[in-house]
């Protein structure tokens, strides 16, 4: 069951801990010249969790690709409302509902994320096989979620405070060639190159090198090194800029994880992305979970 939780939480991709760190909710943030690595990473996290928007919707397709090329799929609907509400510490609430294949159809999670960076998420899981809601614990940070090529913390729970940062360069991104469709993404995008080292030690990685766009403040590529200092995994995020009421909202369009040791790969593609549709907070309640029938 835990894996289901991780799957549901994980594919949210942008669910996790709000960190705020002085950045104002509902305002677009992008790096400026002369910022420190810490300041850039704070903006990166802000945009990763799209705290500039009021709400968000998307449909996601997950494809797991085995070394032999065989594939498994998942499809989900996702909704989120950003609250940034100090009175009860709620940063944002997420709802993820699986629609395909039948083996996972109906699985759904409701996640409340808090502004306090030391506070875990509250997670409710609707289990169609039990027809009931279970309150569950957030996943272990170093676990891979849904059998994919990301860890839980990379997707749902890593916070700004979990790492130390060092700006190691600025460059035009060399581009990422997708293993899924062969296209090259974000070629020549001006970016900061930042080395991130985990506060926790020992940990499953010794460092990662991340490439953060100067234009929209999102990280495009993580090169992740094992405890022996060897590159063992890459995590790519492809972004698009959406015009929402005249504002340029950055949105993750695709995520690709590639385990260089095992050859296993995972891709998530987001479609029908919508921002600021006027979602009501009422939707983000157990009532919505209980409306699931499958």
């Amino acid at each position: 069951m835990k894996k289901i939780i991780l799957l549901l939480m994980g594919i949210v991709l942008v669910s996790g801990y709000a960190f705020a760190a002085g950045l104002e909710y509902f305002q677009l943030q992008k790096p400026k010249e002369g910022m420190t690595a810490d300041e850039i990473m704070q903006i990166k996290y802000f945009n990763k969790y799209s705290l500039f928007a009021h709400d968000y919707e998307s449909i996601g397709d997950v494809v797991f690709i085995e070394k032999d090329g065989s594939k498994r799929n998942r499809r989900f609907l996702r909704e989120r409302i950003i609250l940034g509400r100090g009175s009860d510490d709620v940063s944002y609430k997420d709802l993820v509902m699986f629609t395909e294949p039948t083996s996972v159809k109906g699985l759904a999670t409701l996640t409340w994320n808090y502004m306090n960076p030391k506070r875990d998420q509250d997670v409710w899981l609707w289990l169609p096989s039990l027809r009931k809601i279970r309150k569950v614990s957030a996943g272990q940070a170093d676990d891979s979620f849904m059998g994919g090529d990301f860890t839980v913390e990379e997707i749902t729970s890593r916070r700004f405070q979990d790492e130390t940062y060092k700006l190691i360069g600025e460059e035009n991104f060399k581009g990422y060639t997708s293993f899924f469709d062969g296209k090259v993404y974000h070629k020549d995008e001006p970016c900061y190159v930042i080395e991130c080292r985990p506060v926790r030690s020992p940990w499953y990685y010794s460092k990662r090198v991340t490439y953060v766009s100067k234009n929209f403040g999102g990280n495009m590529l993580d090169e992740i090194y094992d405890p022996n200092g060897k590159l063992y995994r890459t995590l790519f995020r492809g972004w698009i800029i959406m015009d929402v009421n005249g504002k340029p909202y950055p949105a993750q369009k695709r995520v690709e994880g590639d385990d260089l040791r095992t050859g296993h790969k995972t891709v998530i593609i987001f479609d029908e992305i919508k921002f600021d549709q006027g979602l009501k907070e009422d939707v983000f309640s157990e009532k919505t979970l209980m409306r699931q029938r499958w």
């Binding site: 835990k2 009175s87 039948t102 875990d120 309640s285 009532k287």
Partner: protein, 493 residues
């Protein structure tokens, strides 16, 4: 029957050959789904379902089938609009074990003469669920045949007592498959931001389904009852069984209420529950009338009960008392006070023969659950369960005890059960082993390890064991000789 088996196997092979290829971003639903969508080309109709075969062999010797069931389930959802939606589940199954193993139908204790439902233990119920949803911002109505699940416990039923249960395979099946759906009105209204009040009106009544004597998982109490009837009949005594079930009247409508709320800011969730209902496990009252010939009347009565209860669940997100302490644990609990029910008194196997043999009881049942993940991806779930039964009427405790309704063995005033479930995964979550251990304080055990493997999006194979250990007077021990190895193959569409 062999012919039916061959058809089922041929169908599975066909499905396997036609569903292994997949295209990225096009989730393959297989030929059955394709055929159904062609046959039912309604834009707002969603279809899903599965075919499944379940086989179990007695572990000792592996030469005897305990189950050979083929199952087809079809789920449909039709959306008239966003607010009005219809949902149904049709399920067919056939357990051919009664043909494969002649011993069942040849068993002299086989009860199949009078009760049509018992006559077909190999198949029961095709309409699993059928309801209409009317959804609004403030109020959700669900009208029709459905399951309602209360409570937070896994594998034990404390407050999950809105629907009766099918004990065809004891408690080995998931409750989703063994709950017997009831016709009811289920209304849930929003009164606070996260606070909802649920009202259930249930005119329907079904008793628990107990497999007849001679079936693979016949309860000991049922077997002993059948033996008693046999002995009485052999002695020339006429046996009459009277089933006292609540009539389908407005007065007998069962009522359920549940208040559910989350205390925002603390993530603390609780419910308060009330149920006025009839017990699904009827009490047995017997009377011997002397005459020529003598007559023995056995009355099975569904007692009217009132249930008061509540649940809570809380994930420790920051720590208890000090930061970080117990962080990551989920605590949950459930409590039920049941009044109005009755139990038999007597000694092991034997219900008290003279005078009143049934006493009213109050029951206090609760469970505390503790869940956490360890070592990256090992999920640990522990439950502490206690069930208290207190007789409200006096009886000679030197001679008699309360009797367990399932085994007709002596029932302690307090029964304690511990459950432990461990689960993890390998091979990118395709291989998922888990083990469930249940321990009763009378040295009563059930240990159920199993492993499932996801072949692809449609196919899932599962294998495992169910080990029972204990004395026949106790819940799992009564199946001490029923250790089994099982295998399941499921195709979803």
């Amino acid at each position: 029957m062999r012919f039916k088996l061959k058809i089922a196997l041929a169908l599975l092979v066909f499905l396997g050959a036609t569903s292994l290829s997949q295209a990225a971003l096009e989730i393959e639903r297989g030929p059955i789904y394709g055929l159904l969508k062609k046959a039912l080309p309604f834009k707002n109709l969603e279809i899903a379902g599965y075919l499944k075969t379940e086989t179990a062999l007695r572990a000792h010797g592996l030469d005897e089938f305990m189950k050979q069931a083929n199952i087809a389930q079809l789920e449909t959802e039709y959306k008239f609009n966003e607010n009005i939606q219809f949902f149904s589940i049709l399920k067919w199954f056939y357990d051919s074990v009664y043909q494969l193993e002649d011993r069942y139908k040849d068993d002299p204790q086989w009860e199949s003469k009078t009760n049509k439902k018992l006559k077909y233990p190999e198949k029961l119920q095709w309409l699993r669920e059928c309801y209409l949803d009317i959804l609004t911002d403030r109020l959700d109505l669900r009208l029709g045949k459905q399951q309602v699940v209360w409570g937070t416990a896994d594998g034990v039923r404390i407050l999950d007592i809105v629907n009766p249960l099918d004990y065809r395979e004891w408690t080995l099946q998931n409750y989703i498959d063994s709950r017997i759906p009831l016709w009811m009105l289920n209304a849930e209204g929003k009164l606070l931001a996260n606070g909802q009040l649920q009202l259930l009106l249930i005119p329907d009544y079904q008793a628990n389904y107990y497999p007849p004597s001679g079936a693979p998982f016949t309860l000991r109490a049922v077997r002993l009852g059948a033996e008693s009837v046999q002995a009485l009949t052999a002695a020339g005594i006429t046996v009459s069984t009277i089933e006292e079930k609540p009539a389908h009247t407005f007065k007998n409508t069962k009522i359920g209420l549940r208040w559910r709320d989350i205390i925002e800011g603390h993530g603390f969730e609780y419910t308060l529950n009330y149920l006025r209902a009839y017990s699904f496990a009827s009490s047995a009252y017997s009377q011997l009338q002397f005459g020529a010939p003598p007559k023995f009347y056995l009355t099975r009565r569904a007692e009217g009960i009132n249930v008061f209860g509540g649940t809570f669940s809380k994930t420790i997100t920051e720590g208890i008392i000090m930061p970080g302490l117990a962080k990551g644990w989920t605590l949950r609990g459930e409590f039920a006070y049941i009044t109005g029910d009755a139990m038999n008194i007597g000694t092991d196997k034997v219900i008290k023969q003279t005078g009143s043999n049934t006493v009213d009881v109050d029951q206090y049942n609760y469970v505390l659950g503790f869940d956490k993940s360890f070592f990256t991806n090992w999920q640990f779930s522990f439950q502490f369960v206690q069930m208290w039964a207190k007789a409200k009427e006096k009886y000679d405790k030197n001679l008699y005890t309360l009797l367990n309704g399932a085994t007709r063995g002596p029932l302690d005033e307090v029964e304690t059960i511990l459950t432990l479930q461990l689960a993890t995964d390998f091979l990118h979550e395709r291989l998922k082993p888990q083990v469930l251990v249940l321990y009763g304080d009378d040295n009563d055990w059930r240990i159920s390890p199993k492993v499932s493997y996801e072949i692809n999006d449609q196919w899932l194979v599962t294998g495992g064991f169910n080990f029972f250990e204990g004395k026949e007077q106790h819940l799992n021990g009564q199946f001490d000789k029923n250790d089994e190895v099982f295998m399941e193959l499921k195709y979803s569409f």
